[in-house]
């Protein structure tokens, strides 16, 4: 009780400071956006798009782990569901524009998220992780056996089409700006969510679920909505990724993918806005570098090793450690 009172006091004193740091963050984000706009002239755009897709995926995942304290080990299901839906629709109905395909993929992933959420939030903690993992495995087997996914082969040659029927996405540069726009929208949605009254309730659930319940909040309801938002954004990432690579395959549905997004978030910094983006960029770059070198076979070992080191020595992640450092030395 006394603890919560003192934190309220600190909150009031810090309001002005909060506003100033908000402004600083906005400027920082605008600088990042400017860099992202210029990046495809320096770096290969397809690689950048891959980073952005996984970054959006990790940002979506982090909404759960970082702000509600729920560890989902089944997010690959949403990524792949978005991808397969979009890929199937775009290859089957040639008149469909990419944005409609993406909307359909995201909607399907959202529905799946609702189903997962309703089942998984019935248990907490590690059970939650196990249940999401098992449900995602169920989805994986479904995609292995279904005809429309073409099993091990996957869907190839998915047309990128014309955005709104007008702008051709064949050109990597226009595709890149489209992906960047979607990423910024997704990122803004998550940022808005966690800084809203709704987001504060989520953080309260993370800190102490029992107390949040006793304050009169229906925590299951809040957890479910957060889960569905997270699933929707993961599906969006999968849909966009499918259009970028013109490919939807089982790799995205495998539990490995669920583990990878955990690693990206953990490495970048759980519960920080920018952490998952940095983590995704780091992991994607690392995999890209390793795949070309002699260590290509050791990717999983190296990723596992990073996992272990992160957890043992480095739990705040890259962004978390930088924030700690800044606080210590510049405040």
């Amino acid at each position: 009780m006394s603890q919560s009172l003192s934190s309220v006091a600190v909150h009031n004193v810090g309001l002005e400071q909060q506003r100033r740091s908000d402004r600083r963050r906005l400027i920082f984000q605008l600088v990042l956006l400017a860099l992202a706009l210029a990046a495809p002239f320096v770096i290969y755009p397809v690689f950048l798009m891959k980073v952005l897709c996984f970054a959006l995926f990790a940002v979506a995942f982090n909404l759960l782990l970082g702000y509600v304290g729920l560890l989902s080990f089944g997010h690959a299901a949403f990524l792949s569901t978005g991808g397969y839906t979009t890929g199937y629709l775009l290859t089957t109905y040639s008149g469909l524009t990419p944005e409609l395909g993406i909307l359909a993929g995201t909607a399907t992933a959202t529905m799946l998220g609702l189903v997962f959420g309703l089942i998984a939030i019935r248990r907490q903690g590690i059970y939650f992780a196990m249940i999401t993992l098992a449900l995602a495995q169920l989805v994986f087997f479904f995609y292995v056996q279904s005809d429309f996914t073409r099993g091990e082969d996957g869907l190839h040659g998915i047309p990128r089409g014309n955005l709104f029927g007008v702008i051709s996405l064949q050109d990597n540069l226009s595709m890149y700006y489209f992906v960047l726009a979607i990423f910024v929208l997704g990122f803004a949605l998550v940022q808005r969510t966690i800084n809203s009254p709704f987001g504060y309730v989520l953080k309260a659930i993370k800190e102490n679920e029992a107390r949040t319940t006793s304050l009169g909040y229906n925590t299951d309801h809040y957890k479910l909505v957060a889960f569905v938002i997270s699933a929707a954004l993961a599906g969006l990432a999968g849909s966009v990724k499918t259009i970028v690579f013109q490919l939807a395959s089982l790799t995205d549905a495998h539990w490995h993918m669920s583990g990878e997004v955990v690693l990206m978030t953990l490495l970048g910094g759980v519960g920080t806005l920018l952490g998952p983006v940095i983590g995704a960029a780091f992991v994607v770059s690392l995999e890209h570098q390793l795949a070309q070198g002699p260590l290509g076979d050791w990717v999983n070992v190296i990723l596992g090793g990073i996992f272990v080191i992160c957890v043992l020595a480095f739990r705040a992640g890259i962004v978390g450690e930088v924030q700690k450092f800044m606080k210590k030395n510049f405040n």
Partner: protein
């Protein structure tokens, strides 16, 4: 030929037997998970990798040192158990005081490393392990053919499960373990070496996994990825049974194996998913699991 619902009885019994064997492995693995969870409060994501290590260790012992099956059945779990003790002592213990999610992630990372290293050494294709001489062949029971080795797997798994139950419920060491599960801090205050108990418990859970691995070696092909998918099924079994009781873990494991076997007979398309579907139903009807205590 006698038929039941349009299925020859011999096929039905055969699948039931296979289901029972799968169930025996589910039981051994979920038992190990439950024992570890009791004291450490973590879910051991490395359990599948350690099960694989048990099987692989038996293969390597046979191929390099000519160690036979019966020795490997003891030696391999001991070696893997010692490895597990090292993992607990030098890695898991460092973050035991942190949020349990981190321990879970740590074991996941360990699993990736173990699996990756051995995939690079042995490839993903399966290796054969011969059935021990004494258990080759089988007996015709009239209604079905029962291979000796398969009967042995079920008996051995049940004996080990029962032994574990006996040790935990009826011995002094087991009473420490149960007390530690209830309140570790209080027990430490009574002068019991809890950190040592935690290490031994983890080692014991790992031994159970490795033992299952050696049992599995002659039936399933031994490969570095053999544990990964199995572990996810075992997680579903754990969710279905709840980690409240040992008997519960064993019964759920066997039961799920049988359900899986029956599904293979009547609706083979769903055989790989039926356990997950059962999990969903159980979560909707009885969220704490069949044998779990309501939280």
């Amino acid at each position: 030929m006698t038929m039941l619902f349009g299925v020859p009885l011999a096929v039905l019994y055969g699948q039931l037997l296979l289901g029972l064997i799968n169930g025996a492995f589910y039981a051994l693995l979920s038992l190990g998970l439950a024992v570890i969870f009791g004291l450490l409060k973590i879910i051991n994501f490395a359990h599948g990798a350690l099960y694989m290590l048990g099987a692989l260790c038996a293969v390597v012992l046979l191929n390099t040192l000519g160690v036979n099956y019966w020795v490997a059945l003891i030696l391999s779990p001991v070696l893997v158990g010692i490895f597990g003790i090292f993992l607990e002592r030098f890695l898991l213990r460092r973050i035991a005081h942190e949020d349990h999610i981190y321990s879970l992630l740590l074991t996941f990372g360990i699993a990736l490393v173990i699996q990756g290293v051995f995939t690079n050494i042995y490839g993903v294709s399966g290796m054969r392990y011969p059935i021990p001489e004494a258990l080759r062949g089988g007996v015709n029971l009239g209604f079905m053919f029962l291979p000796y080795y398969r009967a042995w797997v079920i008996v051995a798994a049940l004996v080990v499960c029962f032994g574990t139950w006996f040790m935990i419920e009826k011995t002094k060491l087991g009473s420490y373990l149960r007390a530690g599960t209830e309140n570790a801090k209080l027990m430490q205050a009574f002068g019991i070496n809890v950190p040592l108990l935690v290490t031994l418990t983890y080692g014991f859970g790992v031994m159970l996994a490795a033992f299952a691995g050696v049992l599995a070696a002659p039936i399933y092909s031994v490969s570095p990825v053999m544990g990964a998918n199995l572990l996810i099924v075992v997680f579903a079994v754990v969710v279905i049974g709840g980690m409240g009781s040992i008997i519960g873990a064993v019964l759920t494991g066997l039961g799920m194996g049988i359900i899986e076997g029956l599904t293979k007979v009547f609706y083979p398309e769903a055989s790989s998913t039926v356990i997950f579907l059962v999990m969903v139903v159980v979560l909707l009807l009885r969220p704490a699991g069949l044998f779990g205590k309501e939280a």
